[in-house]
Symmetry: C2
Subunit: 345 residues, 2 copies
């Protein structure tokens, strides 16, 4: 096992004694930093940045240097997986992802290539991880990630963002066998992909189920948790974090997963979540990202309340969602510094 | 009190004995019916339909005739309230609502007229209610409605739909006094508006807090429930239904409101919700609207499961969200007929 100048986050995940809570932010590598935008604006688009390992590594490390977070997370996108599976995406400025082709029928699924050479198709991500690890030079651990199968399924079937993902859900209800076939394929590719990330140096992996909340308790159990469970069982090399945004009703079920950390969104009460999930997991979250629009005093006060709610239990401080693009980096620093100044006795 | 040929829904709300569960659908008057689209397509736009009482009445009654629902709900939009307050909106096809002006500062709030003549500005809605009542001729009760103050605040500050309503939330955190001032004004207009709807003939009123779920427990209590409570206390003439979509964490607080019915979205477990809310309220909901994409057998089976979950307690069958525009009306009928065929013993 590698050692780090700062391994607070790994110690916290393992339940070892630490003197403060570790802190990082979802989407910390990206739009909030002028240093990121300078690089991004010199390129043809978002995908060029994702696909250029040296640059992806550079923006991955920026928040470690500039914000002082306790972990880096590789700059990439969950949609590289559907692209590797045969559905290329575009990232349209101010609109979000867009897929020229979608998968909605058995024929569409059958058209996808059966064998995916993940090492080759997603080599740019593993290469970015290697470059990042080299340049981080042991300062902090590096988090790898992938979308959860249900969330990837949402984009592959809907073809773009949606408030309801009703086209994705239509398939669950009208053709559950087809849904399971596609979810199974996504799961297999995702496991291989995460293993490549780990082999390249990822110290932790996080599975993002961003659209978990579009499903209800039974449906999420059948089409969501089922596949996240397979990922958790397959990944034993490093700690796994599961973040099922909006799936408050699934917390009991998520507590049973073979993972180390459960992410909480800002709707989920910390004490209640701890009670439901029990003492065997590290929790992560969950400041409302909009709170970083407040003044410095309010941010400090609310962050202290959050830290108090952790009750000296295993917890990684984070937001309850990705940091919003129009957030002032100084406000982010205020959050981070407040966490770091708080001792666990 | 008027009597109706079918007053199942009113009896259920009052806790009287009925032999089956009443059923209606959020957004039942609208896009799913070809008969609606025929009228809509003959007009310049959505707003012309909202603002023409005879036509609004006609599309309000269509689902009573065609689908056999147990209540009509007046065809209108929650955004007529911000418009009456001085912020006109447009409804852009396939994009949703759009406001030319928004309210984000004290100066913006001060620019809004202080005295709103609701009777005059929203006379087209009360007139539509009167025409509907006349033409319904006692067949079923008529539901009036308004947006909850927080949801109206979202549109007035954000100016359009949003996945996060981060501009609206920014104000809550950065200028809570201003937020309360605007929420207070919206609440006052909404109470007057609902009273006019009731005077015109609305038998039930529903308050839609569509964006409740964007807030967390404490924030919703402070900026959401607080104002819904004032509406509930002010409206004593007819039963009030509160639907706070996504605010699962607020169910205990909502149970304390002076209202008769609580709407549930499809994420909320019925038995758990009944336990949290207690026996003094009627519940309403909550089939996943996407389930109506399934085949008839599946819809029938899942609807029967839903009915079983009501446990012969006070419940109004409905979806957990508005019916989606691409839903086959025959599937909607299957849901409605399954509810109507189920006896409560």
């Amino acid at each position: 096992m590698s050692t780090y100048q700062n391994e607070t986050i790994l110690k916290m995940i393992r339940g070892e004694k630490v003197d403060r809570f570790p802190v990082w932010l979802m989407r910390q590598a990206g739009r909030i930093l002028p240093e990121y935008r300078a690089i991004r604006n010199s390129l043809s688009g978002f995908k060029e940045l994702v696909e250029t390992p040296e640059l992806a590594a550079e923006v991955t490390i920026q928040p470690v240097d500039i914000l002082g977070v306790d972990a880096a997370i590789i700059f990439s996108d969950i949609l590289v997986v559907p692209e590797a599976m045969g559905l290329p995406y575009e990232m349209i400025e101010k609109k979000g992802p867009w897929f020229e082709n979608t998968v909605r029928s058995k024929a569409d699924v059958d058209k996808l290539p059966k064998e995916i050479d993940v090492a080759e198709r997603l080599g740019y991500v593993t290469e970015a991880i290697k470059v990042t690890k080299r340049e981080l030079n042991g300062r902090v651990p590096l988090i790898g990630f992938a979308g959860a199968p249900w969330t990837i399924f949402c984009y592959m079937t809907e073809g773009q963002g949606s408030k309801t993902f009703s086209q994705a859900k239509r398939i669950l209800y009208s053709n559950p066998e087809l849904a399971h076939e596609l979810l199974d394929r996504i799961t297999n590719v995702t496991i291989t992909y995460l293993k490549h990330q780990i082999a390249a140096g990822a110290d932790i992996v996080q599975v993002f189920d961003s659209w978990a909340g579009t499903l209800g308790p039974k449906t999420y159990s059948e089409f969501g948790t089922k596949y996240v469970r397979r990922i958790c069982e397959a990944i034993q090399e490093v700690p796994v974090t599961v973040f099922s945004k909006g799936a408050y009703y699934a917390r009991e079920e998520l507590a049973e997963l073979d993972c180390q950390t459960i992410g909480l969104d800002w709707n989920m009460d910390i004490a209640e979540s701890r009670q439901i999930i029990g003492m065997d997991k590290t929790l992560q979250g969950n400041l409302d990202p909009c709170l970083l629009y407040a003044d410095f005093n309010t941010i400090e006060r609310k962050t202290k309340n959050l830290l108090k709610s952790f009750g000296n239990r295993r917890h990684i401080a984070n937001l309850g969602h990705g940091v919003y693009p129009d957030t002032d980096p100084e406000k982010v620093k205020c959050f981070i510094e407040t966490v770091k100044a708080h001792s666990i006795n």
